[in-house]
């Protein structure tokens, strides 16, 4: 099938950037989306044109490295799916696709579709952990965790840190990402001692990174490839408010 791509090309952070049109006359419907970009890049190299830079690694939907906007949707049109797991059979002959990098002040464009997401790492470094030095842990079964709590914690822990939530949010908020970590650790007994401090520190860091505030639009939930639920944001807000009231 024939696909027309319009791809954001930007040499580096200082370049203005622009959309460039590419024609792909022979796209196999069994290809993954990224394999289609591989084919485009091979074509470009053959024509002595620099290939399109895009982030990707595991191509199994778990590393969180890939992702771009496809016709305004983070990771493309298929719900619960990272860009690498999206296949061309979901498109039709003659489709025109507009590919853009994640757009957010906290995610500056590095090149073409590649952005800098280290702000997420700094949010985790601010408090997204349980402080336990190697060697000091009690027996694994000394801490019991109700099955339901473990499952809900795992639901939140499934976040892959891809940044789609930020890219889709009109406020470029990192609430789903931050809330997911706060919910993951806050639902476990091990995470209780640092629970309030964690919420304060992580929320403050997100603000410092210039992520916006959450206004409950829910677009993040709609595009999250791991289907993290909005309720993690409610948990974050709850922890944050409790911590603020108790003066921590």
């Amino acid at each position: 099938m024939r696909i027309t791509l319009h791809i954001w090309r930007q040499r580096n952070a200082n370049d203005a950037g622009k959309m460039v049109r590419y024609e792909l006359p022979n796209v196999n419907h069994e290809m993954s989306f990224l394999e289609m970009l591989d084919v485009l890049n091979e074509d470009l190299i053959a024509k002595n044109e620099e290939p399109v830079a895009f982030d990707h690694d595991c191509r199994e939907g778990i590393c969180g490295m890939c992702g771009c906007m496809v016709n305004g949707m983070a990771h493309g049109p298929l719900p619960g799916t990272t860009l690498c797991q999206l296949h061309m059979r979901h498109f039709k002959d003659g489709d025109e696709l507009y590919l853009e990098p994640w757009r957010a002040k906290a995610f500056p464009v590095v090149k073409d579709l590649v952005v800098d997401r280290t702000a997420f790492d700094r949010i985790i470094a601010a408090g997204g952990y349980i402080s336990v030095a190697t060697g000091s842990a009690p027996d694994g079964n000394a801490v019991m965790v109700p099955k339901e709590d473990a499952e809900r914690s795992m639901d939140a822990a499934a976040c892959i840190g891809c940044g789609a939530c930020v890219a889709m949010c009109p406020n470029a908020a990192a609430a789903l990402f931050t809330g997911a970590k706060i919910a993951h650790l806050g639902l476990l007994p091990q995470g209780q001692p640092e629970r309030q401090q964690r919420a304060i520190a992580m929320v403050a860091q997100a603000k410092q990174e210039l992520f916006g505030s959450c206004t409950n639009m829910g677009l993040c939930e709609a595009v999250c490839p791991k289907e993290i639920k909005l309720e993690v944001i409610a948990r974050m807000n709850g922890d944050f408010i409790r911590a603020s009231l108790s003066g921590r």
């Binding site: 084919v39 091979e42 982030d55 690694d57 590095v110 190697t134 473990a150 091990q190």
Partner: protein
Amino acid sequence: MELNSKSPSGPIETRWERHRFNLKLVNPSNKRKYTIIVVGSGLAGGSAAASLAELGYNVHCFCFQDSPRRAHSIAAQGGINAAKNYHNDGDSIYRLFYDTVKGGDFRARESNVYRLAGISLNIIDQCVAQGVPFAREYSGYLDNRSFGGAQVSRTFYARGQTGQQLLLGAYQALERQIGLGAVKMFPRTEMLDLIVVDGRARGIVTRDLITGKIESHFADAVVLGTGGYGNAYYLSTNAKGCNATAIWRAHKRGALFANPCFTQIHPTCIPVSGEYQSKLTLMSESLRNDGRVWVPAKKGDKRAPSQIPEGERDYFLERKYPSFGNLVPRDVASRNAKAACDEGRGVGETGLAVYLDFRDAIQRLGASVIKERYGNLFDMYNRITGEDPYSQPMRIYPAMHYTMGGLWVDYNLMSNVPGLYVIGEANFTDHGANRLGASALMQGLADGYFVLPNTIGDYLASNKFEKVDASHAAAREAEANVNQITQRLLGAKGKRSVDSYHRELGKIMWEHCGMARNAEGLKQALALIPPLREQYWSDVRVLGTGEDLNQSLEKAGRVADFFELAELICRDALDRNESCGGHFREEYQTPEGEAARDDEHYAYAAAWEFQGVGQPPLLHKEPLTFEYVHPSQRSYK
């Protein structure tokens, strides 16, 4: 060269304890004066960097991805083994040790494996304390399952995302240390050379992948936790970025490379669909618990699977291995699938696949039970292939998955280059010739959390370190080397892309040094690879510059190293005239077609010394002795 494994003697149960006691310690207040470089941020590198920083060392950690959380440990699905015996089903440290030595087909070091089995207990404790959301029973206690044919339930898991959750645990511990200023993190920074000063590893040369800046970093010890080299085969279950550059360039600086031919093929992967295929996706081998593997009995039978009557199907694993059936080990399942396809009985468009059929299990148990057990895997299969495994059989084919070989290390995890430590999949020690399911995560974390932090202090406390900086001749030479490689790749201005060469190399490797090998094929590969490598250097086309993000240039350097490594893999495979574990030489099999080991001549680790590109490497042997687990022949009939 004398290979001293520093493996302790005496009763195996107390070897690690006695060894630790004999190691020198670094005074706590002096630890901050030592700098340690950790390359790689997966389960091994991430856990090591965090733990070393907790001890007080000054740590610099490097990864090529945009964040340490991306490392490919994240993709491990099944679980992590630990000899907790929570199920009272007869498990013990000794049994895990025994299973690992036997599963490795008697090509691993007993002392290391016993230590690994013992530490497995601490790993689970540590990960639970970090908040890894392991599966729980209704009581709130940890759940276990049996995995990969093990007869005890010792595998801990977090849904099908165990690797992800364990990695996030290590990553969070690492980020905590970064936040505290104890670790300086260098993401999107790739190690391109090792700096060796007076015979000791003292630093690395890196390229900043965004600015292209080539820079030297110095330390008192260098730790490589950079994973395996499965991508030498182009198509593998590894992430696209996985590469052997760090270990290979360290090898070229003198570190011995051990058992490169010990590679593991995973039997249940989604088959190749076309020439554009960029990687292969693994599906947990738990699928073989209920799925039946078959191909049409007749050659070239192109009917849809539902049109092939029962009598015209060949359930070849059940037929050949009546007692283990579809649950034979990975290597046996893989080889038999290949044999069926080689006979022209493969299925699907390419003929390079066999069926994994759930029809009978669905009839017996109902679709809801199958959905509960494998729902996420069925969804994944459906997403990739567009086919529904509830109504038609899956198509599967084996794929390159894990590499047991790696840089040679002693019991302290130090290579033969003093001050260079190698951990996780990047080293060679614990899995022998074949790795058991759910043991990779265990080894990566054992090395990073518990072994290295204990052993590295001995080296630091026993040596004096004069200051080294970028003006040192060794650093200047290493930087010049890296610059020269970059310029050569950019300057070739040839006709073909990096990927086209990588794909061609991969095909040679898969064809001649894949699931089954023979002397003739290996010699052919050794005749094909060097001229292709030469052509690569003069004909590769890398566009753009070295001064900004250039993904083609990154790949080009890695593929250059795969060319050299591929040659070594084939040499090692040709040199090892026996079949063992993942290394199956067709000339050496039992009358039943099983791997025939030759313990008399090959009970050693083959550690190769680099002698120059295209020059035959020098073989050093570390003899392996088995005082506890006595070598026996595997049988799954």
